[in-house]
């Protein structure tokens, strides 16, 4: 029901026009500030950053356009390429591990388990923690001197080595370990909700036809979870591209800058190295990555839903 039509139907008595006018306008007045915020602080700021990325801004912003030199500089920067490579490694492993662990845990939990609520709470609690807390904890666990390496050596495996966190080229995998620990329980919760929504009668019918549990899962249940896969994928991709806190707390981007991600790259160049133009260009590339990955996915999924 359209509100202006509703108000017209209630035809106000004359003399109450002003009050009525205010009443009609109130919904818009209430939404006004949020609309202004979205237009200025989201859309406006994106354009502002885009503008900065086409300038020579260093310590202070400047607004005379100079073309694509920041983007050229960005893609000639080895550190940016390392950040991109790390994003590819981290993104694919993080998403893959979270999806597999999450689905496995959800299926295991869906077998009429005692204490299901308790186990679910245990799998999910890391999600309540800050990535900084997670990073701090794993940094301690993974440190070679006193952490897991030390523990396994004490157990008698004298030559055991697990020093990824201080090894260039390997430290990004420790980010995967900590990230998956934090986020897989969340994916489990999504899948579990999905499993509970699967139509029982289809499964009963399949059982009557003599299908075993593996077949029922692979042929019927998992395919029907497609929308859940889709939302989990979008959320995880989003977390991966934005990942900043976890790297800062776990490795600080190190050793050197071997575990940099685009988000840490942007922060370092924009705020520590006074290269505002370059930082803006890297932020724009992050935005474009999000757009390039998520928009086609959403488009494909909505089209599929409309057809189905």
């Amino acid at each position: 029901m359209n509100s202006s039509r509703a108000d017209a139907a209630l035809s106000p008595p004359p003399g109450k026009k002003l009050r009525d006018y205010v009443e009609t306008a109130l919904p818009k007045i209430v939404l006004g500030p949020t609309l202004a915020c979205a237009l200025v602080f989201v859309y406006g700021f994106v354009l502002w950053t885009a503008w900065l990325s086409f300038t020579e801004s260093r310590l202070l912003p400047r607004y005379d356009l100079v073309g694509f030199i920041q983007y050229v500089a960005l893609f000639e920067n080895d550190r940016w390429w390392i950040a991109l490579k790390n994003l590819a490694i981290f993104g694919s492993l993080f998403i893959g591990i979270c999806l597999v662990t999450g689905l496995l845990l959800a299926i295991l939990l869906d077998q009429r388990i005692r204490a299901e609520g308790f186990l679910r709470a245990v799998y999910l609690y890391p999600m309540a923690l800050s990535f900084i807390v997670t990073g701090t904890a794993w940094r301690w666990i993974l440190n070679p001197g006193l952490g897991i390496e030390h523990l396994v050596r004490q157990l008698g495996f004298e030559t055991f080595t697990f020093d990824w966190i201080v090894t260039p080229g390997m430290s990004i995998y420790t980010v995967v370990i900590a990230g998956a620990w934090q986020s897989s329980g969340f994916v489990m919760a999504l899948f579990l909700a999905g499993l509970r929504g699967v139509d029982d009668s289809i499964i009963k019918a399949a059982q009557v036809d003599g299908a075993g549990p593996v077949r029922i899962y692979t042929r019927i249940i998992i395919p029907s979870l497609r929308p859940v896969f889709f939302s989990a994928l979008i959320i995880l991709a989003h977390i991966a591209i934005k990942s900043f806190d976890l790297v800062m707390a776990l490795t600080g981007g190190g050793p050197g800058f071997s575990s940099d991600l685009p988000a840490t790259f942007m922060y370092v160049f924009a705020f520590n190295r006074n290269q505002i133009g370059l930082g803006a260009a890297s932020a724009m590339m992050m935005l474009l990555t999000v757009v390039a990955i998520i928009v086609p996915m959403m488009y494909a999924e909505t089209r599929r839903q409309h057809r189905g």
Partner: protein, 293 residues
């Protein structure tokens, strides 16, 4: 619920169940391990840490690391522990949660009960905003906060968190209010009740479930935030997450892992507490916010 039932022998079934529980418990131990390690490490002395190992229990329980983390640990030049930063976080998180939730509720109310031409476009515009990586607004926001005179202040952090939290809070309330029958509001309007009267008397009393979800979601998000904290605040104004990161990365002197761990638990305690007492709502927010977002 999918139950794996087959015409298998009772023995095979028992073995299957045992393996199932064994797997579930193994996973549970894996997820609990870091918390256990954090807690035990924080209660050890430094000698105990060097002499023992990751999973050993403390030889004698000592709360020194906790006291130091709270009141005298050094981050850079500042040696007042994390207590100041903890209260900083409290002082901007609570108002930011309250304001963003209230505005979100009003927005959701308008978007469902007082729709007008363009309100759906507005909602879409707002939703797309959920997807941008915040890196793309940091530089302009830093400048804007400076112009407004609220750079490096509690007000500034409240402002930033409210602005970028609105999309989510609006989403929560809009999706909840959609299921409230519009007739309820129409009837009240015919009786002459106005916009705010309907909100207070009819809508708000129906809202506690979503209010809890939204407050918990916002509290967790804002308390755990690091990016806005590290960019828009400095020194004594920093929130606890930033202070924790500074503490852990302070390279002067002996590395005190027990203090680091105590500090990490202190930083995680408020959200963990909320999770323990209201986990159901936390999960609901997580799934609702994400599936739609």
């Amino acid at each position: 619920m999918v139950e794996v039932q087959r015409t298998e022998t009772a023995g095979a079934r028992v073995i299957g169940r045992v393996m199932l529980y064994a797997l579930l418990i193994l996973f549970a131990l894996y997820y609990l391990m870091p918390l256990f390690v954090m807690l035990t490490t924080s209660l050890k002395t430094l000698d105990d840490i060097r002499g023992g190992n990751l999973i050993a229990l403390p030889e004698q329980v000592s709360f020194d690391a906790w006291i130091k983390a709270w009141s005298s640990a050094c981050t850079g030049v500042n040696c007042g522990g994390l207590s100041g930063n903890f209260w900083n976080s409290v002082s901007f998180v609570l108002p930011a949660v309250a304001i963003s939730t209230l505005i979100g509720a009003l927005n959701g109310y308008v978007l469902t009960m007082w729709r007008f031409r363009g309100s759906d476009v507005f909602f879409t515009l707002l939703l797309i905003g959920c997807f941008i990586p915040f890196q793309v607004v940091l530089l302009p926001m830093a400048q804007t906060l400076g112009w407004l005179g609220i750079a490096n202040s509690t007000t500034g952090l409240i402002f930033v968190h409210v602005v970028y939290g609105l999309a989510f809070t609006t989403l929560f309330f809009r999706n909840f209010y959609v299921s409230i029958p519009e007739e309820l509001v129409k009837a009240a309007r015919i009786d002459g009740a106005g916009f705010f009267r309907i909100f207070w008397r009819i809508i708000l009393p129906l809202s506690p479930p979503i209010l809890v979800v939204c407050v918990i979601w916002q509290f967790t998000q804002i308390w755990n935030d690091f990016l806005f904290g590290v960019v828009f605040s400095s020194g004594e104004r920093q929130p606890i997450t930033v202070a924790l990161n500074n503490l852990v990365n302070t390279s002067t002197g002996v590395k005190e892992y027990n203090v680091d761990m105590a500090a990490a638990i202190i930083a995680g305690l408020p959200t963990l507490f909320v999770y323990v007492v209201a986990g159901k709502y936390f999960v609901r927010g997580l799934t609702a916010g994400s599936v739609k977002g």
